[in-house]
């Protein structure tokens, strides 16, 4: 499709601003001004509406397609939470208001939302307290590791590394490194679990923390999780829980009960806030009691008279990790979702997510080799290794799925599984959708033998065929340029 810049016509006007209703003052001296106006597009409002309406129709999305992207929990996002966010009282509230004398009383509604959400997340995960400030999961990881660093520093210790399984998501090692830690990687044993011997060997007084995802990124719940935690605590290390897979164990297991000290959640995964083409998300961080003092400021507190306020006087706090109180709009949607599902609804979400994932695994395991076992939690990891023998990659199978109107599963993650395909159906997809998707994958498996070319040429029904990614990296064209 033409770029909006290629639709620009000199002199064409779009949105109109109010007339200037004040006397005209002299402008700024030239020194402070730009030479010419930024060459933004010159288009009408209809040009813009038609451009972005048609552009949107080139995307697969949860509202139009089955989107089983592993580790992303692309469940249905209820529509009413959008309406809640658009309520004038929530959408137009200035974040600095509570920092004005008397201003706090004008933000009681939003402060109560934050306070209630922190309480609910604490009870769901068994943690002592939460901060809603982190702006995505990875940001929550960085915050968590900063809390770990502050904790050890407060004990006069300067521990050097963080233990991370090789199957973990890329953000885990990146977050640890960025916060100044070395990363010690532990391999996965033949059953798909953390290699205990390597783990015991790596654990030492230099270990600041152990970062785990549970269920892990292979979709398994490690029954030895308690033992792993006890060992860590024995060495004075803290347990970090990557909460991306919480959708598997709502009401079945709480990280706080099984030895985790600091966790992050992904509201845009487990709590159904929209993924927005990559964001916004939110990564609230929960801590055990001994880490509460280090939480970022400000803290939302409830005064004796039932009103809410912001407390900035936490001398041990690691300081600001976000400009204000987190991605409020995303937090509000998660809050509304939790109130709507309630206790039974949250439990049913996990039960049906795990049921659907196991249903996919059971029907597919005879066509694609399961990475490790016959059971899984909320997502299953299959390998297209056997298809590779006919020269068919997980990538080719994904492109075939696209032609059939399905968004492909996550591929080539976790890195430790050859030609990995990670399918996370979620609890909101119907059985007939799962069956149609499974049948399509089975078709692809049969085609790999009978007619691999059909898979190599896919996709054929999309706006573009397969794109030259090497050219994009070698000759980077990262913006439009006026000829």
């Amino acid at each position: 499709m033409q770029l909006i810049f290629e639709k620009s016509r000199p002199g064409r006007k779009g949105f109109a601003l109010p007339e200037i209703d004040v006397p005209i003052a002299p402008g700024l001296t030239e020194k402070y001004c730009r030479k010419q106006a930024a060459p933004l597009p010159e288009v009408s409002e209809l040009d813009v509406v038609r451009h972005f309406s048609n552009l949107s129709r080139l995307n697969f999305s949860v509202d139009t397609n089955f989107y089983p992207l592993g580790s992303c929990t692309m469940k249905y996002n209820p529509k009413f939470t959008e309406k809640a966010c658009a309520l004038e009282g929530f959408s137009d509230l200035h974040p600095l208001l509570p920092q004005l004398l008397g201003g706090g009383m004008l933000a009681q509604g939003s402060l109560e939302v934050l306070y209630n959400t922190e309480r609910l997340l604490s009870e769901i995960t068994g943690m002592h307290a939460f901060t809603t400030q982190p702006l995505a999961g990875a940001h929550g990881e960085l915050t968590g590791v900063m809390l770990i660093a502050a904790y050890h520093k407060n004990n006069g210790e300067r521990r050097k590394h963080i233990i991370i399984p090789d199957s973990s998501h890329g953000t885990n090692p990146a977050s640890a490194a960025i916060a100044g830690y070395n990363v010690v990687v532990i391999p996965t044993d033949k059953d798909g679990f953390l290699d205990m011997t390597a783990y015991k060997k790596a654990l030492s007084r230099e270990t600041a923390a152990v970062m785990l995802t549970c269920p892990d990124t292979l979709g398994f719940f490690n029954p030895k999780i308690k033992e792993i935690a006890d060992l860590a605590h024995g060495a004075g290390a803290l347990m970090y829980y990557d909460g991306a897979n919480l959708n598997a164990i709502l009401g079945k297991c709480r990280p706080g009960d099984i030895g985790f000290d600091v966790i992050h959640l992904n509201l845009h995964k487990t709590f159904a806030t929209p993924h927005g083409g990559g964001g916004p998300g939110a990564g609230p961080v929960g801590v055990c009691e001994k880490l509460a003092d280090f939480l970022p400021i400000s803290r939302v507190i409830r005064r004796s008279d039932g009103t809410f306020a912001l407390d900035y006087h936490k001398h041990k706090s690691i300081g600001y990790i976000a400009p204000f109180y987190g991605n409020f709009g995303v937090i509000l949607k998660a809050y509304a979702y939790i109130l709507c599902l309630g206790r039974a609804g949250l439990i049913e979400a996990s039960e049906n997510a795990v049921l659907s994932a196991n249903y996919c695994l059971s029907r597919l395991k005879d066509y694609y080799a399961p990475a490790y076992g016959k059971r899984c939690m909320h997502e299953c990891v299959l390998s297209a290794a056997s298809q590779l023998e006919q020269g068919v990659h997980a990538l080719d199978i994904s492109k075939y799925l696209i032609d059939k109107g399905f968004h492909p599963p996550t591929i080539y993650f976790p890195l430790i599984v050859k030609e990995a395909m990670m399918i996370e159906p979620t609890e909101t997809e119907s059985k007939e959708t799962l069956d149609a998707f499974i049948d399509c994958l089975i078709e692809a498996a049969l085609l790999s033998k009978s007619n691999p070319e059909a898979l190599h040429s896919a996709p054929l029904s999309m706006p573009v065929k397969r794109l030259d990614e090497t050219k994009a990296a070698r000759e980077p064209n990262l913006r439009w340029q006026q000829k």
Partner: protein
């Protein structure tokens, strides 16, 4: 209400295919002692009841204050077409465009957004978005440290305290040395910056307009910074770029900023939009997702996520940054907003903001005891010296329906009587005059 489609019959069929008796069997490998100690979440409510609860909460917030508070987050008008288009399900219920053939809508939109950020900042390359202005400044600082191999960063105290505090929090475990230089007569103090500039300096960070609203031309500073092999970083207010000299024109190496003012609601602190733009030569050190143009097998233009080798899912602990989910939908809003205003509209928006602020300065100057700081030129935000503590004045004006400004004493020692006032295109002449009258009434009561 749980949004689950499986009927009892379907569950039975699925369990049969899996080969288990009940759903509980799928969880039986979670040992009893690892089961939740409690799960006291209130029972689910219907959509209607939850909305009623949220409407009551939303009414506990002030909704009719006339807003003169800025501090980096501004009450600009958002054209209805922004919500209408960013609200299309094919945008907001998709995720990161990993599969290009079925995500060309998002990939092209991000490519267009990257272009807009480059055009506003006057720099060469931008990325798909960062969390907010604060984390964007932190990522810029880390880029400078990586590029220069140096560990000292000079920060002008005109940079927002919010962002400075975030910067210090993130780097507390890293051996980075920060030097804060004072603001003199409203602007960055050249003398002090040059005094600390040396071969250990990785970067100098400035902000335009600065937190006092003062506008500056940093070309001179940039020259000296480059002379000693450091990088110049500027945090900028995008709407002001409709009128003000761009970072590119000043030679700035890395421009960052908060994109909230480009069609994103204030929404009590987020979701917001962090943007970053750099020179071509520093492209491979950029954090986060980047979209590039390429061609498909039929030589047809298409867009893909590119330069992914820098990112966490490939480089893991050696990645340039840990960001995965970003603020894509807010970047889309900013793109739609800037296209709607367009080349002439964006300039007019900046001009309208500037003129309204100048009128407010003149009007407030007439209020007995009030003195507008005129030491440096400003864009749409300026500092006012009040005859008494700004906190109390703000409190009494809230009762008169005005969020009249930000008391600078909260962020800068010794400025308890100083108020930071922001005036956007939404503030009518009448509202400005009423604000001055109410201020007059409050000051002499």
């Amino acid at each position: 209400m749980n949004y689950i489609p499986h009927t009892e019959l379907e569950k039975k069929e699925m369990l049969k295919t899996i080969g288990v008796e009940s759903v509980d069997d799928l969880f039986k490998h979670i040992p009893a002692e690892l089961r939740p100690k409690s799960f006291n979440i209130p029972e689910g409510k219907s959509e209607f009841e939850v909305m009623e609860h949220l409407k009551i909460l939303s009414r506990k917030n002030a909704t009719n204050l006339t807003d003169f508070v800025g501090g980096g987050f501004y009450d600009h008008y958002i054209p209805a077409a922004v919500d209408a288009l960013a609200g299309r399900a094919e945008f907001y219920t998709a995720y990161t465009p990993y599969q290009p053939e079925c995500s060309q809508g998002w990939l092209q939109a991000i490519y267009e957004y990257q272009t807009v950020i480059c055009e506003l900042t006057g720099l060469d390359v931008s990325n798909a978005s960062l969390y907010d202005g604060g984390t964007a400044l932190y990522e810029a600082a880390m880029m400078a440290v990586r590029l220069s191999g140096r560990k000292k960063i000079i920060v002008d105290s005109g940079v927002s305290l919010i962002y400075r505090t975030m910067l210090y929090a993130y780097t507390s475990n890293l051996s980075i040395e920060f030097v804060e230089t004072p603001v003199v007569h409203g602007q960055a103090c050249r003398e002090d910056i040059y005094k600390h500039l040396d071969d250990k300096t990785a970067a100098v960070i400035v902000q335009n307009p600065n937190f006092f609203g003062a506008v500056d031309d940093f070309s001179d500073i940039v020259e000296r910074v480059h002379k000693c092999g450091a990088l110049a970083i500027a945090s900028v207010y995008p709407v002001s770029l409709g009128m003000l000299k761009s970072p590119g024109e000043m030679g700035i190496d890395i421009a960052t900023g908060e994109g909230q003012s480009l069609g994103i609601p204030l929404s009590f602190g987020g979701p917001y939009l962090g943007f970053i733009a750099v020179k071509k030569e520093h492209m491979r050190q950029l954090p986060g997702r980047i979209v590039g143009a390429t061609v498909d097998k039929d030589n047809k233009r298409g867009f893909v996520l590119t330069l992914q080798a820098r990112e966490q899912h490939i480089r893991r602990e050696r990645a340039t940054s840990n960001i995965c989910s970003n603020e894509a939908l807010c970047a889309l809003r900013a793109l739609i907003y800037t296209c709607l205003l367009g080349k002439s509209g964006f300039y007019e928006l900046a001009r309208l903001n500037y003129q309204k602020a100048e009128f407010a300065k003149v009007t407030l100057d007439k209020v007995t005891g009030v003195k507008v700081k005129r030491s440096a030129p400003t864009f749409n935000e300026f500092t006012v010296c009040l005859p008494k503590n700004a906190d109390e004045v703000v409190c009494s004006l809230i009762d008169k329906g005005f969020a009249c400004g930000f008391p600078l004493g909260r962020f800068y020692k010794g400025l308890d009587n100083y108020l930071l006032v922001a005036v956007t295109e939404k503030r009518t002449k009448e509202e400005i005059v009423q604000f001055a009258n109410s201020l007059e009434a409050v000051l002499c009561s």
